[in-house]
C-alpha cells in the first residue's frame, strides 16, 4: 500500500514535495477499487457458501447423511478406540520414516556415484527403484506378511506389524530415493567444481556442499511421501493388526454408522497439518524459499 494522505494535500515530505491533484485522485481511485473488490469477493463467497449449504441441506436425504456420517455423539463414542488405532499408525510411521530416509538416501547416493567402478551399485539402485516403485504396496505387504511367516523359519519374527513395516520401508524407500536423486542432480555442477577447487574430496563435497542443498530443496515432496506413508501405514491392517481405519470399520460394523471413519479422517488431518507447517518453518530457517528464490 502507498502512504495515504489523511486529507487531500494534507502531508508534505520534508523537502516540501506534495502529491499532485492527479496523484491524489489516483490514490482515492485505488482505495475505492480496493474496497469494491473486497466487497465483491466477500459477497460472492457468502452467496456461494449459502448456495452449497442450502443445496446440500435441502436435499431430502441430508438428514440421513448427517445421521450416518456426522453424528457427533457417535463420533465421540468411537474416538478412544479410533485414537488407539491411530497410535499404531503413528508408531509404524515414525519407525519406518527413519529407516526409509536412511535407505532412500543410500539408494540415491549409490545411483549418483560417478565412475565405472560403481557401475554395479548404479545398476542395483536403478533396478531396485524400478521394481519397488512399480509393485503394488498391498502385494509387497502380503508377500512379506504372510509369505515369510509361511516359510516357518526359526528365528524370524512372526508379527504382522514387523513384516508390514518392512514392506512399507521397501516400497517407500524407492519413492524417497527418487526424490533425493532429483534433489542431488538439481545442484548446479559449478557447486561441485567450486568445492573440488577448494580442495574438498569427493566425499566432503557430497557431505558439505551437495547434500545439504539437495535435501533442503526436496523437503516439500519428501513431506508428501511421509504424509502418504502415514495413511498407507493403515494398509498393514490386512495382516490383522488394528489401525485407525480398521478400528473405525469395527465401530461402523456395530450399527452401520460411518461417523467413526470421519473421526479417523479428522485425526489424520490433525496430524498432517502441524507437520506441514513445521517442515515449512524448518526449511525457511535453513534459507529455503521455494522455487521463487528468496526475498529480493
Amino acid at each position: 500500500m502507498s502512504r495515504e494522505p489523511e486529507m487531500p494535500g494534507g502531508y508534505a515530505e520534508p523537502d516540501g514535495w506534495r502529491p499532485s491533484a492527479v496523484q491524489l485522485e489516483r490514490l482515492a481511485y485505488r482505495r475505492r477499487q480496493t474496497v469494491r473488490s473486497g466487497a465483491i469477493a466477500g459477497i460472492s463467497t457468502v452467496v456461494l457458501l449459502a448456495l452449497v449449504v442450502f443445496g446440500v441441506g435441502s436435499t431430502p436425504g441430508w438428514p440421513r447423511v448427517r445421521a450416518t456420517f456426522f453424528d457427533f455423539h457417535r463420533g465421540w463414542e468411537a474416538l478412544p478406540v479410533v485414537a488407539q488405532g491411530l497410535w499404531l499408525n503413528v508408531r509404524v510411521m515414525l519407525v519406518c520414516a527413519v529407516l526409509i530416509v536412511i535407505f532412500g538416501l543410500t539408494l540415491a547416493i549409490m545411483r549418483t556415484l560417478r565412475g565405472p567402478i560403481f557401475f554395479p551399485f548404479r545398476i542395483f539402485a536403478a533396478a531396485y527403484t524400478d521394481i519397488f516403485r512399480g509393485l503394488p504396496l498391498l502385494l509387497v505387504i502380503f508377500l512379506l506378511g504372510f509369505g515369510v511367516p509361511a516359510l516357518q523359519l526359526r528365528g524370524l519374527p512372526n508379527q504382522a506389524v514387523i513384516w508390514g513395516g518392512a514392506a512399507l520401508v521397501l516400497t517407500y524407500s524407492s519413492y524417497v530415493a527418487e526424490v533425493f536423486r532429483a534433489g542431488i542432480e538439481s545442484i548446479h555442477p559449478s557447486q561441485r567444481a567450486a568445492a573440488r577447487s577448494l580442495g574438498l574430496s569427493h566425499r566432503q563435497t557430497l557431505r558439505f556442499v551437495v547434500l545439504p542443498q539437495a535435501v533442503r530443496r526436496v523437503l516439500p515432496p519428501l513431506l508428501n511421501d511421509f504424509v502418504s506413508l502415514q495413511k498407507d501405514s493403515g494398509l498393514i491392517a490386512v495382516l490383522g493388526v488394528i489401525d485407525a481405519i480398521r478400528a473405525a470399520q469395527l465401530e461402523t460394523a456395530e450399527d452401520f454408522n460411518f461417523t467413526p471413519y470421519v473421526v479417523a479422517g479428522l485425526l489424520f488431518v490433525a496430524l498432517t497439518i502441524p507437520l506441514t507447517r513445521l517442515t515449512d518453518w524448518v526449511a525457511r530457517r535453513q534459507g529455503w524459499y521455494g522455487a521463487g528464490g528468496g526475498a529480493v
Partner: protein, 286 residues
Amino acid sequence: MTARSALVVVAALAVVGLAACAPEEDSAGTAPQPSSADACSKDKLALKTAGTFSAGTDKPAYEPWFSGNDPANGKGYESAVTYAVAKKLGFEPAEVKWQTVQFNAAFAPGPKKFDLDVNQVSISADRAKAVDFSTGYYDVRQTVITTVGSKIAAVTSVAGLADAKLGAQVGTTSYTSLRDVIKPKQQPAVFDSNDLAVQALKNKQIDGIVVDLPTGFYMTAAQLDDGKIVGQLPATDKPEQFGFVFEKGSKLTPCVSQAVDALRADGTLAALQKQWLTSEGAPELS
C-alpha cells in the same frame, strides 16, 4: 466474456445444477403391515425391476452358504433359502437375478439397487436403525477353531482362551463375541476376510479363529489340513440370527418376513440346514 457476465453464468449454472440434481422425495415411511396374504402377491410387491427378484450378496460367496462362488446355482444354504423365499412369493428360479454387493455397500445410506441382500448379516437393534431386516432364517452359534497341536487345541472352557491370540473377520458378530465373551488379554487380530484369517492361522501368527459354526466346519474340513473345532461359545440369552437386509423403509420387508416365517413353520429351513450345514460334533465350551 466479462467478469460480470461470467459470474451470472456461473450462478445460473449453479441454480440449474442444484435443481437438476435435486433428488425426488421418496416417502420413507414405515412399511405397511400386509393385511392379508394377497398384499404380498407377486404383482403387488414393490420391486426394483418389475417381475424380477433382485438379490445381492458379496463376492466371493463363501461355502457353506453358497457353493462354487455362484449364488445362482441354488446350492449352499443361503442360496437355497433365497430361492425358497422367492418361490413362496411366486417367482420362478429364472426370475431371481443376483448382483454383487460388497458387505459395507449394503448398509450405506441411499437407495439400493437390490430388493434384498443376503450375506450372513446378523440382526441387531443398532443395525436396524440403518437398514431393515427380515425375520431370522438361521440361528447363529459362534465357535472357536484352531489347528491340531496349537496351545488352545485342548481347551474346554472360555476362560482357557483368554491368553490366546485369536482372530476374526472384520465387521462380524464373531469379532464382537471374541471381544465381549472371551475378553482376550491380547488384542485380537482382525482380517478383511475369513480366508486371510485362515492364512494367518496356517502361519501360526494366530492361535485360533472365531467364526460362526457352519463356516467353522467348512474351514476345518476343507481349508485346513489339521483343523480342529475347539468348541462353541456359550449361547447368550438372546439368540443371534442371520436376516435378509433391505433398504430402510422397504415395503418388501414384511412380505419376505412372512415367507421366512412360513418356511420355518413348515420345516423347510430345518431341512435345508440339514442338507447344507453340519452342526454335529462341536463341543460346548463352559
